[in-house]
Symmetry: C2
C-alpha cells in the first residue's frame, strides 16, 4: 500500500525529500504555459544517480509510474503527471554538479539537473563555448534539454542538443544505472543507446548525467537585421549568406512584419529598427574565431551582395554589443508580445528549408479561407527550417473564443506540414499535448517500431506514461 512504498522512499533519500503535502507538491504539477495541472502521489527529490536508481527500483517493484522532471519549462506537457494521482514526480534538480571540464578533449561532464545557464557560464569560465541557447536557459535543466532534444538559436551552426552530447548516464526502467558517460568523438561498438534516450522524453529511462561537447569561444559576434520583400527572399538571402559567410554564419532568424508590429505595440520602449515597414525581416548572427574585423567584413559583404541582388530592401548592422542585444530583444520579445496580446494557437513546425516559402503561402491561404482576417504570427529559426507558426483570431474576435477552433486550426496547419514532408514538432517534442495527433502523421510501421522499443525497455510501462505513445 501507499505507506509502505513511501516509507521505503523516505528510508532511501530522507523524509525531507519525499514531498506529499499539497502545498509542497503543487509547484511540480502545472505545465509551463499554465494550461494543465496534474496530480501526484508524491514528489521525490533524490540527491544523486544512485538514489535515482534506488527510487526507480522501488517504483518498478510497486508499479508506481515515474514522471522525470527538470526545470519544468517544457512546452508540450511532457514533465508533469496526469490527473490520476498514481504517479510520482522524480525531480532531478538536486543533481546539479558540474562533474568535470576537459579543455583538450573539449568536453564537460554534468549532472542532469544542472541549469543550462550555469553550464554556459562554466564553459565560458574555462574559455570555451557551450552553444545551446534558448529562451528558458535560466531555468531549464540539461536533462530536460536532452530528454526533449531541445533546439534554440544555435542549431544552424552547432546542431540540436543531440549533436552536442557525446555520452549519457541513464537509470533504466528497471532501476539499473547505465554509465555511458563517454567522451569520445568516435565509438562504433554496438547500438546507439545514447540517441535513443535523447528525445525520448523520459519514457524509456531517466537521464542522470551527460558528457557535453564544448567549442572554441568565438572572438567576436556581430548581428544585423535585413528587411526583405518576402519569405522567398529570406530563403535566397540564407543561401547567399551561407556562401559568403561560410561557417561564420551562426544564426538566421525570420520575423514577419506582424511580429514586429506586435512587439512595437506591447513593448513601445524597444527601438523599432526601420523607418518604414517591410513584409519580412531576417536576423543574421555571424561569429568569427579570428577577429571582429573579420566578422564585420563578411557581414558587410553579405549585405552588399544582397542589396546588389535586389534581395534586401534595407539593413541595419549592430555596431555595439548594446545594439546587437537590441536587435535580438525584438526577436526574443515576440512570444511575450503574443502572450500580452491574448491566447493564441501555437505550432512548432519544420519543413525542408527549400519548401518554407511555399508552405507559408499555402497555409496562410488555407487559414484565411477558413477564418477571413485570421492573423498569422510567423517567426523562427529559418536556417533550420523551423518556424513558430502561431495563429491569433481575426480583429474583433475574442482570443478566448477563437481557442474553440484549436483542433480545426491544428488540423489545417499540421496537414499542410505533412503535405510538405515536414514535422509537427520540430524542437519541443510530443509530450501529452501532441500524443493524440501522432498517429495521424506517423506511418503505422514507425509507430509499431516505437511501441516495440517502448515495450522492450519499459515492459512495466512505468516511465512517464501517457507521453509520446
Amino acid at each position: 500500500m501507499t505507506d509502505l512504498f513511501l516509507a521505503h522512499c523516505r528510508e532511501l533519500i530522507g523524509a525531507d525529500h519525499v514531498l506529499t503535502e499539497d502545498a509542497d507538491v503543487s509547484p511540480y504539477l502545472s505545465d509551463w504555459r499554465g494550461r494543465y495541472m496534474g496530480r501526484a502521489r508524491a514528489v521525490l527529490r533524490p540527491a544523486d544517480p544512485q538514489q535515482v536508481a534506488g527510487l526507480v527500483q522501488l517504483c518498478a517493484a510497486h508499479r508506481v509510474p515515474v514522471v522525470p522532471q527538470g526545470g519544468r519549462t517544457g512546452l508540450v506537457i511532457g514533465s508533469v503527471p496526469d490527473e490520476s494521482g498514481r504517479a510520482v514526480v522524480l525531480s532531478l534538480r538536486r543533481l546539479n554538479r558540474i562533474r568535470a571540464v576537459d579543455g583538450i578533449n573539449r568536453t564537460m561532464t554534468v549532472d542532469a539537473g544542472c541549469i543550462l545557464h550555469d553550464i554556459q557560464q562554466a564553459a565560458g569560465a574555462a574559455g570555451m563555448l557551450f552553444p545551446l541557447s534558448l529562451a528558458a536557459e535560466g531555468s531549464c535543466t540539461i536533462g530536460g534539454n536532452l530528454a526533449t532534444n531541445a533546439g534554440g538559436t544555435g542549431v544552424l551552426r552547432y546542431g540540436n542538443t543531440r549533436e552536442l552530447c557525446l555520452g549519457l548516464e541513464v537509470v533504466t526502467a528497471q532501476g539499473e544505472l547505465w554509465n555511458g558517460l563517454r567522451g569520445l568523438r568516435k565509438d562504433n561498438t554496438g547500438y546507439d543507446l545514447r540517441d535513443l534516450y535523447i528525445g525520448a522524453e523520459g519514457t524509456l529511462g531517466v537521464i542522470t548525467g551527460a558528457v557535453l561537447k564544448l567549442f572554441p569561444q568565438p572572438k567576436a559576434g556581430i548581428t544585423a537585421l535585413v528587411a526583405l520583400g518576402s519569405c522567398r527572399d529570406a530563403l535566397a538571402l540564407l543561401k547567399l549568406a551561407q556562401e559568403t559567410a561560410g561557417p561564420t554564419l551562426t544564426g538566421y532568424e525570420l520575423m514577419s512584419d506582424v511580429c514586429l508590429r506586435l512587439v512595437g505595440k506591447h513593448f513601445p520602449n524597444l527601438p523599432q529598427p526601420f523607418p518604414q515597414t517591410h513584409p519580412q525581416y531576417a536576423l543574421l548572427e555571424l561569429s568569427s574565431h579570428e577577429s571582429e574585423q573579420h566578422a564585420v567584413r563578411l557581414l558587410e559583404e553579405t549585405i552588399e551582395n544582397a542589396l546588389e541582388a535586389g534581395l534586401a530592401q534595407d539593413a541595419v548592422v549592430a555596431t555595439s554589443i548594446a545594439q546587437s542585444r537590441a536587435l535580438w530583444a525584438i526577436r526574443e520579445h515576440i512570444p511575450l508580445a503574443q502572450a500580452a496580446d491574448g491566447k493564441n494557437i501555437k505550432h512548432d513546425i519544420s519543413v525542408p528549408i527549400s519548401r518554407i516559402a511555399d508552405f507559408v503561402e499555402k497555409t496562410d491561404a488555407l487559414l484565411a479561407r477558413a477564418w477571413p482576417g485570421v492573423q498569422v504570427v510567423c517567426f523562427g529559426h529559418l536556417g533550420d527550417g523551423n518556424l513558430h507558426y502561431n495563429i491569433a483570431p481575426p480583429a474583433g474576435t475574442p482570443h478566448e473564443a477563437f481557442l474553440a477552433y484549436q483542433g480545426d486550426v491544428n488540423r489545417i496547419v499540421h496537414d499542410s506540414v505533412a503535405d510538405f514532408a515536414g514535422s509537427i514538432s520540430a524542437e519541443h517534442g510530443i509530450g501529452a499535448l501532441k500524443r493524440d495527433e501522432l498517429p495521424r502523421y506517423k506511418a503505422q510501421v514507425e509507430l509499431d517500431l516505437m511501441r516495440a522499443i517502448k515495450a522492450a525497455l519499459d515492459p512495466l510501462g512505468i516511465m512517464n506514461p501517457g507521453k509520446i505513445l
Copy 2:
C-alpha cells in the same frame, strides 16, 4: 524446402538476380582483408526497396538469415555470411540511383547501394560538398557507410556518417518498408529510429535509402606537414590550431616516424618531406569558404605560433595541389606499406583526445615489456581521438609467427583502451571480428539493453546473425 524459397525469390526479382552457382556466389563471400570466407545459400540482387521488402518477407516466412551487403569493404567481417551456408547475401548494389538533390535544403536523397565516390561527385556537380571521405570511397556504398557509421578524414569538422544523415529508408526485419526519408534539420516526434539503424551493421533491418546533408563547397584547401617531438606536442599543436584556425581546420592526422620510414621503404618514389627524421608528424588540412589567401594566412599563423611555442621542429606547407596530394599520399600509403611489410595486428581505437599521449606511452611500454623490440605502427585521426594502433613483430620474428599472439596483443591494447575510458572500435564497427570481445568491455546493463532492442525489432533473429551480439 530450399527450392520453394528460392523459387519465390526468383519469381519476385527474376532468376538472373538469384545467384546460386559457386562461381557466381563466391565473390560475395570473402571479407575485404581476405582472412575469412563464408558460405551462402544464395546471393539475392534486388532492384529496388520494394523488392528488398519482398525478399525479407520471404526470408522471415522461411526463417532464412539475411546478410545485407554493400561494397564489401568493411574491416570487421560484418557483411559476409558465416560458414553454415544457411544465410542469403542480400546485395544492395543494384539500388544505385541518386534520387534527388536539393540545393537550398542542402540535401541529397540516395539509394543505399550508391558508391560513396559517386555521391561525392554528384554533390560537387551541384556546387556542394558531401564531406565523408575514406580510403575505400571508390567501392564502398553509402548503405555500408551508414550501417557501420563510418568515420574517415573529415570527422573533425563534419562528423561521422551519423552526423551526415538526416533521414533513412529501412526494410524492417518483418519485411515492412519504413519511409523515414526526412530532409529536416529538426524533428522531435518520437524515438530516434534513424540513429538506431545507423551503426547497427544490418542486425536490425536493411537500410535501402538515405537523405544526406550537403555543405557549401570550400573555395580553397591547403595542407601542411609539421614535424614534432612527441605525441604530447601533437596534442598541444591541435589545441593551438583549433584556436588559431577555428572552423577552417578540417583535418588533423598523426603519423609516427615508424610510419614514414615504412612508407619510404616500400614506396621509395614518394618524396620524403623532411631532410631529418622526427619522432612524430601532424598533417593539417585547412579549408576556407573565403579564399586561398585566407587559408594560407591562417595556416601560416598556426605554424608560426607553433614554432614560437617550441612545438614544431620543422614544417612544410603545400603550395600546389600536387604538393598537397603528395603529403596526403604519405598518410594514405601507411596501410599499404604495412601490408607490403607483412601481416600485422590491427586496432581501431579511440580515447578522449586529452588522454591520447598517456595512452600511447603506457601501451607502448606494456607491449615492449611483453615482446621486446615490438614495432608499433601508430597513425590516425588525432583530431577525433582515433588511432590505428597496429602492431608488427620485433625485427627477426616472422610476421606470420607473430600472429599467434594476436589474442594476447589485443588483450593488452584493448584493456589499456578500457583503462583510458576509450573504445575498442572507433570507426570500423564490431561485426563478427570483435563480437567475442564486446562482453569484456561493455557493462552487463548495456549489453542487456542492446539484446532487448535486438529481440524487439528482430524477434526471429534473422538479420545478420552472429554480428555485434
